[in-house]
Amino acid sequence: MRPNLFYGLPVDLFYGLPIVLMTFVCLAAIVVSALLRNNSKVVFVFSCVGLVAVIGAACLLFPNGTAFQGMISVGVYSSFFDILFCSAALLVMIAGRSYLQRMEFEFDEFYLLILLATSGMMLMAHANHLLITFIGIEVMSVSFYVLAAYMRTKTLSVEAGLKYFLLGAFATGFLLYGMALVYGATGGAMEFGAIRSAVGREPSSLLLMAGTGLIIVGLCFKVAAFPFHSWAPDVYQGAPTVVTAFMSTAGKAAALSAFYTLMNALIPDGSPEATKIYMLLAVISAASMLFGNIVAATQTNVKRMLAYSSVAQAGYMMMGLVAGTKAGMTGMMMYLASYMFTQIGALVVASIIETKYGENLEFSDYAGLSKSQPALAGLMALFMFSMVGIPPLAMFFGKYYLFTAAIDAGFTWLAVVAAVATVISAYFYLGLIVTMYFKQQNEGQAVLQTEPGLSGITLVLSASGVIMLGLLPALLVKLTTLGL
């Protein structure tokens, strides 16, 4: 029995500290922004400090357990994701400030929405109850719809927002319907523990299978896995570049964190149904990897290329789900963390090169970058090599762990598909390096002049993340396996 009070406060507040604090930071930021009109610097600093505080709270690494009457779970798993989301938000916010100033589009709402989305993500990772998962997904998604359409005078951005909203609402319908079916099939269970035991009693119920299937569809949409990815390229291309960086890393990570906990509750151990579901997930994962990489290889726009490649990355991450083991979870978490640093880094480089009018995003605009902007080109090359999975850079070890988990779970064929897909991906990731290093600047192309400003901090942090996680993956592995 654990005590109900901790230093005179309800103990739930202590266990739920990261979420409680995050919610507080969100609301306070709104108040700060309302009180100090048009003083985005204060809001920016406040949000950053708030995020650092939440990271600090999450670093306390609470013992595994639940809080708020079993509504949220706490522990290493959720704390890891708290740190991941908040770090992504922090990196994006720092880069976003200088980016938006360059675009002359800086409003307080950007920071508020990022904070709000982050709190939604944290709810998803902490959820121990279907409703909390749903609320988290909605809070995150609605913030994303607005963020995608943030540059409201630009057609592409508005289109991205609308497209994302319509398709996202549709996917939410699937998800919600699936949840309702599960609720019915399990006899009114909504807490994950209860669902798990109900599923264990009667694993082959048709209602349950239908519910699980619909939930998989909804979540595949959120992680942008094939064949539910069609929104991703347009939205990622149209949204402001820093927002793309946030959506494609933290957003994907949040969806996967919920995916893992939901599958953990819904897939019964060792039954024939489990084999079927795992096979379904494996097929989705393989198809995403192949499709994403093949289509990415034909793109000429850097953002679109990274968008399609993020479909493929979702496929890799799902290998962890397919394995369905602790090792798979560790691999997925490793991969998400390394992908976060790499993708944010790459998109922030793109955001620095982008002009005020949304130009300079084509591959050909990167020609000769190694001469005009050697530092930016060097960093971009580093991120691309990490994406390819060259050791000793971060994403290689993520892949290694995922391969290990998949093969251990008997999905050797999936690992082979992943290996082949990686070779395909080498073609276009290297294509960018080719343009930057091996091609001369085009005739008449204006010499790129840009000041990274605050974005430089993000770049330095991401690059050191990529290198550190690569040289010493042990640090992260220890964190992900702590207390398991």
């Binding site: 290689f396 093969i407 082979v416 990686t422 080498a426 290297l430």
Partner: protein
């Protein structure tokens, strides 16, 4: 310690060079040269400090790296790898020296990439951990990619991408196999590990069907590197488009990783599959010999001709490896070592003339012996060494390879020996054609009559390799005895697995019980033979 320094000196140099001002060409060049000479010094010290009478890994360093998968920073050398380490150090020092006059663009990056390449190649040869090996194996793609892509010829982008994707394909498949193997070790011993020394104990216990798959994955990766027919097609493009120094490194050092990998990983990990498919591998080697040789003869471009010549000569090496006899393996190792020396000398020579003449077409040359006598001497020595003239290094390796293939109890056929002998004839055909077209014949072009002979700097680049070529040709024992024990131990292991007895029990014993004296070993050997 000298081994660690030989490994890390280039890395330190590579990073340090990035801090230099890019116009300070003199200091960049001489720093790079100093670093590579220092690395050579350390490699030489390691070579001299190596105890050739033991087949064990020596100078072993074992530090934890990623505890959760038991990957460690484990390095060490045995009789086979120490030779490759030395070869790498020699070639890279020559490569740095050779770049002084040939590279004029982005020099800072060039030397930095060159040293990074030296770091990763040396790492491949000394790694005693599959994770570490894989890291180096992949890392070397980055400098190689830039070397071809930035400083290469007209179609350099195509060549660089082709090279990268080809090799990447092989190594990704190998990665899956490596993971599979580590998981198998986990099942049998209870511990997941990437430790090479444990893997090579456990892997041979796998059943044949599984071994076949893993054998295929590893062999593919290494055969792409070698490159063996039919996955050799990246080579001519890369050789043609690379800058001459780059082509020299590819020919002299990069292929050796494939050869080394076949011996260290494929033979040791998957003996059963190696017995089963030795004939297939030798047949591929034989095809490479005939095909490469015939295609080389008809080439009109010097660099392409040299590239196909490489395919041809490496085919013989593969046959030697899969003969699985001490002679064949010794021959493969010494031949790769030789080949590295001769090929670097050959490519340097090719570089001098093509640079002076600004052409790589064979027909543009002729009669250079008259205007460039010193050049012709060095050029002829390297050509004769590659052809296998007795008295030069090529002959020693060729002879052993042929002997091994003939005598192999695993292959049990003389066909491959014949093909190996044919390779000598083919080599004579294309290399002598190259020599004759360039150095002899009529000098009927005005441009060719004013070419200047080699400068002292160029002679200095050629000398180390040429001296070693003569040394190995006249007294091969200096180098051969180093790898003798290791190869015999390996063959002993293979023979025990296949036939249940071995002629090399002594080396095998030493491997298992390094502390026991010779006397005890002999006694045990007698006892076991009595039984």
């Amino acid at each position: 310690m000298s081994l660690i320094f030989a490994l890390f000196a280039p890395l330190v140099g590579s990073i340090a060079l990035l801090l230099f001002d890019r116009v300070a060409l003199r200091s960049i060049r001489y720093t790079a040269l100093t670093v590579s000479l220092a690395a050579f010094g350390f490699a030489l010290a390691a070579f001299l400090g190596f105890d050739a009478s033991s087949p064990q890994f020596q100078m072993v360093v074992d530090k934890p790296w990623i505890p959760s998968i038991d990957a460690g920073f484990r390095i060490g050398v045995d009789g086979m790898s120490i030779l490759f380490v030395l070869l790498t150090a020699i070639t890279m020092a020559v490569a740095v020296l050779a770049s002084f006059k040939t590279i004029h663009e982005r020099e800072k990056q060039w030397y930095s990439m060159l040293l990074l390449l030296q770091f990763s190649v040396t790492g491949c040869f000394v790694a005693l951990d599959t994770m570490l090996f894989y890291t180096f194996f992949e890392l070397l793609l980055i400098p190689m990619y830039f070397i071809i892509g930035i400083w290469g010829g007209e179609r350099r982008i195509y060549a660089a991408l082709k090279f990268f994707i080809y090799t990447m394909f092989g190594s990704m498949i190998m990665l899956v196999a490596l993971v599979w193997l580590s998981l198998y070790v986990q099942q049998t011993t209870g511990h997941f590990t990437t430790n090479l020394l444990i893997l090579r104990e456990v892997a041979p216990t796998l059943g044949l069907s599984v071994q076949t798959w893993l054998f295929a994955a590893f062999t593919l990766a290494f055969c792409i590197k070698i490159p063996l027919f039919p996955v050799h097609t990246w080579l001519p493009d890369v050789q043609e488009q690379s800058p001459v120094v780059g082509a020299m490194i590819v020919g002299a050092v990069l292929f050796k990783i494939g050869v080394y990998g076949l011996i260290r990983f494929v033979l040791e990990f998957f003996p059963a599959a190696s017995f089963e498919y030795a004939t297939v591998m030798c047949a591929l080697g034989a095809i490479a010999v005939v095909y490469g040789g015939l295609v080389a003869i008809v080439q009109t471009d010097i660099k392409r001709m040299a590239a196909y010549a490489l395919v041809c000569s490496l085919g013989v090496v593969v046959m030697g490896i899969f003969s699985m006899t001490p002679e064949g393996l010794q021959g493969a190792i010494i031949q790769t070592f030789n080949h590295g020396l001769s090929v670097s000398a050959l490519f340097l020579c090719i570089g001098y003339v093509t640079e002076r003449r600004k052409s790589t077409t064979l027909a543009d040359f002729g009669g250079l012996a008259r205007v460039m006598p010193v050049f012709t001497v060095f050029f002829a020595i390297s050509i004769f060494s590659l052809v296998g003239l007795p008295g030069l290094n090529g002959f020693v390796g060729e002879y052993l390879l042929l002997l091994g293939t003939f005598r192999s109890p695993f292959l049990n056929t003389w066909v491959f020996g014949i093909v190996g002998a044919v390779s000598g004839t083919l080599a004579a055909a294309y290399f002598l054609k190259m020599l004759q077209k360039i150095a002899f014949g009529k000098n009927d072009r005005e441009e060719n009559q004013v070419l200047s002979d080699l400068t002292p700097l160029e002679i200095a680049q050629l000398l180390p390799a040429t001296i070693l070529m003569l040394w190995i040709g006249l007294y091969p024992a200096t180098f051969m005895r180093v790898s003798e024990e290791s190869t015999q131990a390996l063959v002993g292991k293979l023979e025990v697995l296949k036939f249940g007895k071995t002629t090399y029990a002594e080396s095998l014993e030493k491997m298992k019980h390094p502390t026991k004296s010779e006397h005890q070993n002999n006694e045990e050997h007698k006892e076991s033979s009595k039984k």
